[in-house]
Symmetry: C2
Subunit: 337 residues, 2 copies
């Protein structure tokens, strides 16, 4: 049981009776090799179990084919779905995803980026963490492409992909009003993410425009538990809201559960609820939640597409900001769909 080491291009060349360059060219798309040489090389390579050493290749080309995904809350439904789509599409584009988890807050985003740089990643896609300016700078200065998803940031250079959170929130107000709701509430977390805040502002503004006031409550961190607490708070008020827009589907799930089980309210009869993200659970019959769909697939494809374009210096002339529309998915948590 000898630990068979990796086989190098040199060995393949010897076996095939050609030069090492021929081997290299065989595995380099667009290089000049005769059909015959190619055949012999491929045959020898297969027999020996040869695989191009991407490390060495990356060293030469100064581009590794690696794309870093910098992400927190991987286990969260929305993030997981986005991650799935991104990895799939990156793979399809011949790139490979390096996953960096920033859940532990010990300055790990920083260490993560540094890691990414050490592996000479061609690009980083950030779907988490505060868009720390210095970090992004570091990234760009190293010649990396950078994509920020749902992280507003005013720097030029990176591609920013965002949704129309503000406008979407307005559309929910319309839906609530059409359902005959009068006492609107917005349930948010304290995370303060730009997209969360945009939803809040959009919701409040649209309500005001119709002459309605909205109760805003914020608590904790964007998850199911926070939704429960928010329901606690909002439903024990003197004037119960009859419509709640939750900044996130997870919040909405927690909210609905306590509204039903603890306050025995009926949805959508006594309370209309809307969420955001369209996570899988939103479609489960226990929730049947009307919500906004994140166009994960489009987000991913836009990002990968942008990364694949060879545009070394066409950086700041074109608009690097993408604004996608969040489509409302009608389900049963608002009356009269």
């Amino acid at each position: 049981m000898s630990t068979k080491v990796y086989v190098s291009a040199q060995e393949v060349a010897e076996k095939a009776g050609v030069s090492r360059s021929a081997v290299s060219r065989t595995f380099t798309p667009g290089a000049s090799v005769s059909a015959e040489t190619r055949r012999r090389v491929l045959e020898a390579a297969d027999a020996l179990g040869y695989h191009v050493n991407e490390l060495a290749r990356g060293l030469m080309r100064n581009e590794s084919g690696i794309v870093c995904l910098i992400v927190s809350d991987v286990a969260t439904p929305y993030r997981a779905a986005l991650l799935r789509e991104l990895t799939l599409q990156l793979q399809n584009a011949g790139k490979v995803a390096m996953l960096i988890n920033t859940d532990r807050s010990d300055g790990s985003v920083d260490r993560a980026l540094r890691q990414a740089i050490s592996y000479r990643a061609d690009a980083s896609i950030i779907l988490s963490g505060l868009p720390d300016k210095s970090i992004a700078q570091l990234c760009l200065r190293s010649g990396q492409r950078l994509v920020l998803i749902n992280r507003d940031d005013d720097q030029p250079g990176p591609l920013r992909i965002n949704l129309d959170d503000y406008e979407a929130a307005g559309r929910v107000v319309t839906a609530f009003v059409r359902a005959g709701c009068r006492r609107l509430a917005f349930a948010n977390s304290e995370a303060g993410t730009p997209s969360l805040m945009a939803r809040e502002r959009g919701f409040v503004a649209a309500a005001r425009a119709l002459g309605m006031d909205v109760t805003v409550e914020r608590y904790g961190w964007t998850g199911y538990e926070a939704g429960k607490v928010l329901a606690q708070r909002l439903l024990t008020r003197s004037e119960r809201p009859d419509a709640v827009f939750c900044a996130t589907d997870l919040l909405a799930c927690g909210f609905m559960d306590t509204a039903r089980h603890q306050f025995s309210m009926s949805i959508p009869n006594q309370l209309c609820v809307a969420g955001f993200d369209d996570i899988e659970q939103a479609s489960w019959s226990s929730y049947d939640l009307t919500t906004f769909a994140q166009p994960v697939s489009t987000i991913a494809s836009k990002a990968v597409e942008w990364l694949s374009e060879a545009q070394p210096e066409a950086v700041s002339n074109q608009e690097q900001s993408l604004r996608l529309r969040a489509e409302l998915v009608w389900r049963g948590s608002i009356r009269g769909g």
Copy 2:
């Protein structure tokens, strides 16, 4: 806006007034450098923004620090949780995770492994796909360590981490019987994964041992939708079961939802339900599902620990199979906890 290229050890050496080797040694733990040299190198490196090129380092050392995670169904709650834990612990051990998604079935596991090999990954952790023998062989022959999670395979070499699915299923029978249930059913998918099948066999065997029969139904692929269909089938039978063990929490969620909303059954009064995995949704108050917890954290730490041990040739002498206990988490979906 000049595209600042990466800075090399050479430049750092010049700036610090030392040789390139000194720089290299400064960043190599355990190498012999004087405190003074070290200080000057670090200073210069910091000023220039130097980062060791892991590609080149990996080329020399013949180990890249990369660990491949080969996974399907990333967006699934259990998988996402495991993924989270693995990336976190790998990072902690100074390794970096390369994520390979095998959702698309176009022989992508094969391509994935090949990818892993091309990047000279030190190890691969497989939590998906059929444990294709030739693939695993390929992996091992290239000197990679291999970890299989919940994928039984009888090859020596890889570390196999499994749960006591068979015995756990037996414990659920006891719980059902104690709750006074008499008509047991098992809801499974058609995926036929070893662990799923072990749960089924264990459940049936334990019931038989108590002189009870169990209705087994299998449908589709392990998800929420399949759970709904399984409920359809099992609850329209002439003799409705009064206890169902679902092979997976996701199945259980789908099952409970149609049992309640479509058959207006009350859980746990008319129907006891148990699941497996303890995904986050199991604890949501709409489900409050009694289930088995996957010890994700332990699984991850065992895997990472094993990978970090320097055991080049102590391969087949010790038992490479780990069997962890799935702990039953009592919630409200079984009477009389």
